[in-house]
């Protein structure tokens, strides 16, 4: 049982000591082709599948009760939803500018654009909270109907992503290198894109 020098030498697992950087950078496989950190894309892809599944579920549930869904939808404020779409689209534009700034090594400029992105994110949340407030005042809650259960779940889950996105933007603003900024803004664009799909399906389509 005594470990002897030979065994130890032979037992050494490969790779850790002197890994070749090239092979290491290949390690993420296909995820490498995407902007930002590959693992963020694992999160983004998971989220897209989740939101996609929720939107399809919503559509399927609608078949079961078209009239109920149409009635409940009348309580939604499309103007607010539309404003929020514009807000997020604009914040996405700012996020693009932040990436452009960091590519020119303009850290301050990058942070300013990120701050702009985040402020619009906060505006989005405020509008969202006003919407929820009017619903709750009208006595509409999570368990009111299938429509509202899904409305709260999908938009609420999305809003929580905005909250998390604000955190991510904050983190990458503190350590602003290209990968970080790309990673953070990739997440933000995902949130933006999801909203662009959620809005027509839940607010507009009837």
């Amino acid at each position: 049982m005594e470990p002897d020098q030979d065994t130890i030498a032979q037992h050494d697992d490969s790779g850790l000591m002197d890994h070749d950087p090239q092979s290491a950078s290949d390690a993420w496989g296909g995820l490498e082709a995407l902007p930002g950190h590959p693992l963020m894309w694992v999160l983004i892809l998971s989220e897209l599948v989740v939101f996609g599944a929720f939107l399809l579920t919503f559509s399927a549930a609608r078949i079961g009760d078209p009239a109920g869904f149409a009635n409940d939808q009348l309580h939604l404020d499309r103007v607010m939803g539309g404003i929020n779409t514009l807000v997020l689209l604009t914040s996405g534009l700012f996020a693009v500018f932040a990436v452009r700034a960091i590519k020119k090594d303009a850290v301050l400029q990058c942070r300013v654009w990120l701050a702009g992105t985040a402020v619009l994110g906060i505006v989005f949340l405020i509008v969202k909270l006003i919407e929820y407030g009017t619903k709750i005042d009208a006595g509409i809650g999570l368990e009111t109907s299938t429509f509202f259960t899904l409305y709260y779940l999908i938009t609420g889950f999305h809003a929580l992503h905005v909250v998390m996105g604000l955190g991510v933007l904050g983190v990458v603003a503190i350590w602003p290198n290209l990968t970080n900024i790309e990673t953070g803004t990739a997440f933000w664009h995902m949130i933006d894109m999801v909203w662009v799909l959620v809005f027509p399906v839940i607010y507009l389509l009837r």
């Binding site: 049982m1 065994t7 390690a27 693992l39 999570l142």
Partner: protein
């Protein structure tokens, strides 16, 4: 074996195998009671038999994880364990608590929540054991090299312990009780245990395939991220019918469907690494167990779980033999096979030998795995019939059970074959052939 202190893993492996044997024995007895209901009914009622069957399973799996951690941490951290002595004391404490629990169960001394039947003092003992373990391993981790494998494993084991604290919370409101009960049960088996599984598989792949650690560890992060991103909210599939709000049906449907993905990723990972590594590792049996583990976990936990995870299906299948089918294959594929993989890999090193009894071990693998698959099929059929007769047609429970009696016979048959296979496996691991120990220089080829 590179570090002396890894040797403490031997205690845990032997202890785990002992309890494994007990688990299977009690399983066969339970299967027998299903077809001969009068057997033992006065002496050892079914509820006690099942309690021992399930508790032995959980405890031996945990013991296996402890052993695996004690084996792989020194190698990963490149340092001796903080305190091997403490690890040995911890083992005997754990073993004593387990033995006390089993004796207590037989004498009727137990609590009454499924899987958490341990009486309060035993639960406290488990916490003490866990604290000793975490203290010992965390200090080892802190003083040594930090790798993704050891980080993920330790995070998982910390959460295993933290989540167990919910076992102490038993509210009087049954619905509340059930909701937090799943904090232990679900967040263990479909949450942090998957982290343990992924990290141990990653360790085995690094060791056996020779693929660059960088590559393996990046995959590891992908797998564990997928596990928790889906698994935490996947708990929703247990919150359909226990008094919790209706929205859990939507959450459960979406997230638990995705719980298949991490298991699929693990299959791809294992096979890809073996293919990419292209190395001929002498411990064929360990490699077989590792690959088999990923595949059977995918079927047992992934596919069989998905089969009845959608709320509209689960409404009819909840609490039928379908659940039993899924439970058996999931635990076997994911966690039993994982433990056997690391045991098969580690034992030759721990005992200073070349890989031994490979053929017997691999026969054990195929026999046990086939029998488990057959058992799963019989229970699935029983469940489908039961669902139709009882949940759709509304036939009385006991009448339905008579209708599916044939399946219980086949299940017992499968159980006996499992017992044979497990005997072969344990024999192959514990009883090494006589012969000289490996001497310096004449060891395995480079790992």
């Amino acid at each position: 074996m590179k570090y002396q202190s890894q040797k403490v893993a031997l205690y845990y492996i032997y202890g785990a195998l002992t309890l494994f044997a007990a688990q299977i024995l009690f399983g066969v007895v339970a299967g027998t009671v299903y077809v001969f209901p009068n057997v033992l009914s006065e002496l050892l009622p079914f509820n006690v038999i099942r309690m021992i069957h399930t508790n032995a399973l959980i405890v031996w799996l945990l013991m296996g994880y402890f052993g695996a951690a004690y084996y792989l941490l020194p190698e990963e951290c490149e340092t001796e364990l903080h305190s091997p002595k403490m690890a040995i004391i911890q083992f005997w404490l754990f073993m004593a608590a387990t033995a006390a629990a089993v004796v207590g169960y037989i004498l009727g001394y137990h609590e009454g929540r499924e899987f958490l039947e341990q009486p309060l003092p035993i639960k406290v003992g488990i916490v003490v054991v866990a604290l000793m373990f975490l203290y010992n391993t965390t200090l080892t981790l802190l003083k040594g090299r930090k790798t993704a494998v050891s980080n993920v494993l330790m995070v998982a084991l910390w959460f295993v312990a933290l989540l167990f604290l919910f076992a102490f919370y038993n509210p009087s409101n049954l619905a509340v009780d059930k909701m937090y009960w799943w904090y232990v049960v679900h967040l263990w088996v479909e949450g942090v245990w998957e982290l343990i599984m992924a990290s141990i598989l990653a360790f085995l792949m690094i060791k056996m395939t020779g693929v660059d650690r960088e590559v393996v560890e990046k995959w590891l992060y992908v797998m564990v991220s997928l596990s928790l991103f889906t698994g935490i909210l996947g708990t929703g599939h247990h919150y359909y019918w226990i008094g919790t709000p209706g929205y859990w049906q939507w959450i459960g449907n979406v997230f638990s469907t995705l719980e298949v993905v991490p298991f699929f990723a693990m299959v791809v990972f294992c096979f890809y690494m073996v293919w990419k590594g292209g190395r001929d590792h002498p411990n064929k049996a360990a490699l077989l167990w590792s690959l088999g583990c990923s595949v059977m976990a995918f079927f047992g936990a992934g596919v069989w779980g998905f089969m009845h995870t959608l709320s509209s299906i689960n409404y009819y299948t909840h609490g039928t033999q379908i659940t039993a089918a899924h439970g058996h294959l999931a635990f076997y594929g994911a966690y039993v096979m994982l433990n056997l993989a690391i045991f098969t890999y580690a034992l030759p090193y721990l005992r200073g030998r070349e890989p031994y009894n490979q053929q017997l071990n691999m026969w054990g693998f195929w026999i046990t795995t086939s029998a488990m698959a057959f058992m799963t099929f019989t229970l699935t059929f029983a469940g489908v019939v039961q669902t139709h007769l009882q949940r759709v047609l509304g036939m009385n429970y006991m009448e339905v059970q008579d209708q599916v009696a044939l399946f219980y016979w086949m299940r017992l048959g499968a159980g006996v074959v499992v017992l044979i296979g497990v005997t072969m496996i344990i024999w192959s691991l514990v009883v090494a052939p006589r012969g000289p120990r490996v001497t310096a220089g004449a060891r395995l080829p480079a790992e």
